[in-house]
Amino acid sequence: MLDCPIKKVFVSPMSVSMLRAVLLFPLFCLALLSAPFSARAAMEIQVIGGAANKIAVAMVPFQAAPGQPSPALTQIAGDDLNRSGQFRLVDVSGAPQPVMPAQVDYGVWRGKGADALVVGQVTAQPGGRLEIRFYLLDVLKQTQLAAYSYTITAGQWRATAHQIADLIYAKLTGIPGAFSSRIAYVQKQGRRYELRVADADGQNPRTVMRSNESVISPMFSPDGNQIVYVSFEDRKPVIYVQSLKDGHRRKIAAFKGSNSAPAWTPDGRRLAVVLTRDGASQIYMINADGGGLTRLTRGSNIDTEPVFSPDGQTLYFTSDRGGSPQIYRMAASGGEAKRVTFNGSYNVSPAISPDGRYLAYISRDGGRFSVTLQELASGQTRVLTDTARDESPSFAPNGQAVLYATVQGAQGILGTVSLDGKTHARLSESGVDAREPVWGP
């Protein structure tokens, strides 16, 4: 079995002055958060299971400013931490509600079983801005692990909560958080398809493209500023690259036959695509502007679903060259392919973890299609899900979870699962079919 322990690392305390920083949000956050689609329904989240050894965090609701947005920052950040399966939120009701570290009675929190404590406050600033100060404290050592302040607009509320969750996660696990990242997915409602971009918790969804024909295989560019997808609006599969800043898009592959399965290179300059212009479904490379086409695989069988290793040196893909669909790898420059999956007769849709250690894919076993994880160095595999119609796995930017699509009842929903298979979260919206998810930066 794979060994995916939860790290419980408390970093050594530092002085307040060193940690205190005013974080200015990147401009793109501002633009996205002011999107005119805020009234859209968002997905609901259900968390199941979790790690055996959870870090206990007490999050005291920050002292509020009049008229601050809701839900509270500690609510949003707490939900993030809870969804990871690596934390247990300590009940803070009935306890004193400190605002500053100096007010903390550590004995109270030790008595409640907390490993860490989060306190803070929100204060109104001129011009409608809000100042947020928060402190992360080690309850056992009675030391301060982090202290941050932000000055934000109300529109940056959720993004700030996710950043707070990322900081807590990083300080307590030693691994960067991924709560500030985004996901994309396709939703189908009746005959209408929408390509949506949402926060990693499924909230704040924004429709970036809608069509009466299917859309599949979205993928963020490595910098997160563009999205590539396959649209059937031209009565055949055609690959589009669209800016997430201004919505402009261009066809990058509309060759004779089918054009599909785009995958960015890690430097964002080129994409691997699957074309049938020369007959069989084969892998080609193309520049992000649609120029510079070169052919990569040269067979008469199916080669599809290419994806690059994080260093860009290796290409993983699905091929039926051996008689059944299996995952292969080859040098990104071309050459001989080597088979990577060996168990079973149907292994497809490869995804590579950001550290390059793991392959996630869909394997079929007795008619069930499940998310499976393989440690590349050892070849050891583990089925991560107990659902039967899983598709489209992709890794969180911090490599700690896999996002995938599955079916619950008759409805398409999204799920995340931790690499140890112990924590499952399901994201769904009533009456909406969600599919083709991908995790972005």
Binding site: M209, S214, K245, H248, T276, A280
Partner: protein, 183 residues
């Protein structure tokens, strides 16, 4: 309308809707942020192309491709599970289409491959392509020029039968022969 022709036209219209999407397709782009500058594309499909003529005895006065008595009116090639072999029963149909295409050099067909819904969408797209390609090759062997044909795939994206049982899957493992002027 002729009482005999009517059900056939209905059937043709339904099958055309199933394969080409039928009604209006509208696409908009939007992003979060400033102005909604997405370009809208709009295409129209008309399903079956309407009244073709009247059946009068043995004669068929309309478009020969729509004559229900002709193998040209047959447009779908079905495949066995995990198979890409064009079965012998489709030979008369494909010979008729090859003959038509060779006699009308400005005619053009799109061979639309499809797959059932099980498994990866992208892999199913490739499976559908393999079925379209099998029909394209069969027509090429019969003498049809490559310039008159395009093999594409809808994968599992446009199922004719939206059921989730073996009967539905069998109906969706299919290549449709669609003439460009009939879209």
């Amino acid at each position: 309308m002729n009482k005999i022709l009517w059900p056939i036209l209905v059937a043709l219209t339904l099958s055309a809707c199933g394969t080409t999407g039928g009604t209006q397709a509208t696409v908009e782009d939007r992003t979060g942020g400033t102005a909604s500058t997405g370009q809208g594309t709009e295409t129209t499909g008309v399903g079956g192309s309407g009244v073709a003529g009247n059946a009068m005895g043995d004669q068929y006065a309309g478009d020969p491709r729509k004559n229900p008595a002709s193998p040209l009116s047959k447009r779908s090639v079905f495949f066995d599970y995990d198979s890409f072999v064009v079965k012998d029963e489709y030979r008369p149909m494909l010979e008729a289409h090859a003959g038509y295409l060779m006699s009308k050099r400005d005619a053009h067909v799109i061979l639309q491959g499809n797959a059932d819904e099980r498994g990866s969408r992208e892999y199913n797209l490739a499976l559908g392509q393999k079925r379209a390609e099998a029909v394209r090759k069969a027509l090429a062997v019969l003498g049809v020029s490559d310039a008159q044909m395009e093999a594409i795939s809808f994968g599992e994206e446009k199922p004719r039968n939206e059921g989730h049982d073996e009967a539905a899957y069998a109906e969706n493992r299919r290549t449709d022969v669609v003439y460009s002027d009939e879209k």
